[in-house]
Amino acid sequence: MMMWNEALPHIQLGKATQAAEPSMDSDAFAAFYERSARSLWAYLSRCSGDPALADDLMQESYVRFLCASQPDGEVASRRYLFRIATNLLRDHWRRPRTVSIEELPENFFATASTHMDACALLGPAMARMTPRERQLLWLAHAENYSHHEIAEVTGLASASVRLLLFRARRKIKHLLEQPARADGGQR
């Protein structure tokens, strides 16, 4: 721990302390951002169903990523970034006085994703999944993360990921195969 009398000369010289030394310079960050931002936004946007929220959470994820001590290597950094984003999503859903993801109107996801959906069925199907199921499915099938990697990102146990993912897969498969019936049943 830095004592105040050691830190005073740093302040008086207008310098940041050791803790404020950036661990990634702006060029390295710009390159990392270029490589990872689109997939992170896709993850946040699909899991939250709200592109505007995805914008905010993506920027906050990067700020927190830069403020923390980043792990070595592109893959580990990327996984760490997704973990921060996952925690931010969880915080957002837990926050009081906001609309819960379960309380969003049925057509919310369909409207938000119709124009950006390569597969128009995925939006409505995702809307019927729980937030955790959406995260697990996206990380497994869109980001191609292994159970172990998903466990690291979400903070769940690897065995739990396997079971939850299995259930989520069955559920979304059912929804994708029978969208008309599912729509009819909901309305």
């Binding site: 207008g14 950036p22 950006m116 079971l163």
Partner: protein, 165 residues
């Protein structure tokens, strides 16, 4: 619930991730996918999710990296200042507490010494020439006031410098 799994599922997912499905798929793996419900499901889901990912990524609004980097630096810097300011605040509280204790001690001491007026006892003429006890108290009080003044001066200087930058 029994979890169905297939040892070739990882191979299938890797194939899709590399974009080798369906054109560059080995015939035996293709035959396996046709026969295996787990792998067929993995292919179906992977195709849907990969397509959705590509679509979402194409629509992703890319804010400039520079402002995000600077925002992070500012936050780091503020956090560092906050960490440094905390012990200074503690020192201020400690100094104020000492000052208070010293004042109370003077009052109690003067009261016990049997003098009629507390205020008259606090006058410099009464304290000079000082006894050993009075001298200690006087030095402690002056030292505390000096420390407080130094900290206040430092904080004022630091704030003006930060605002200037």
């Amino acid at each position: 619930m029994k979890i169905r799994s297939c040892p070739r599922e990882a191979e299938v997912r890797d194939l899709i991730q590399r974009g080798h499905w369906p054109d560059s798929c080995e015939p035996d793996l293709r035959a396996h996918i046709d026969a295996c419900a787990t792998c067929a499901e993995a292919v179906q889901l992977a195709q849907v999710f990969q397509a959705a990912r590509t679509a979402s990524m194409q629509r992703a609004p890319m804010a400039a990296a520079g402002p995000i980097w600077w925002r992070a630096q500012l936050r780091r810097r503020n956090a560092a200042f906050e960490r440094i300011a905390k012990p200074i605040r503690t020192a201020q509280i400690f100094a104020a507490a000492i000052c208070l204790v010293a004042t109370i001690a003077i009052l109690i001491f003067e009261q016990r010494s049997g003098n009629a007026s507390v205020l008259s006892n606090l006058l410099p003429t009464q304290l000079w020439p000082p006894s050993n006890w009075s001298l200690t108290l006087l030095i402690s009080t002056i030292a505390t006031i000096t420390v407080l003044a130094a900290v206040a001066l430092f904080l004022a200087t630091d704030t003006s410098e930060t605002n200037h930058h």
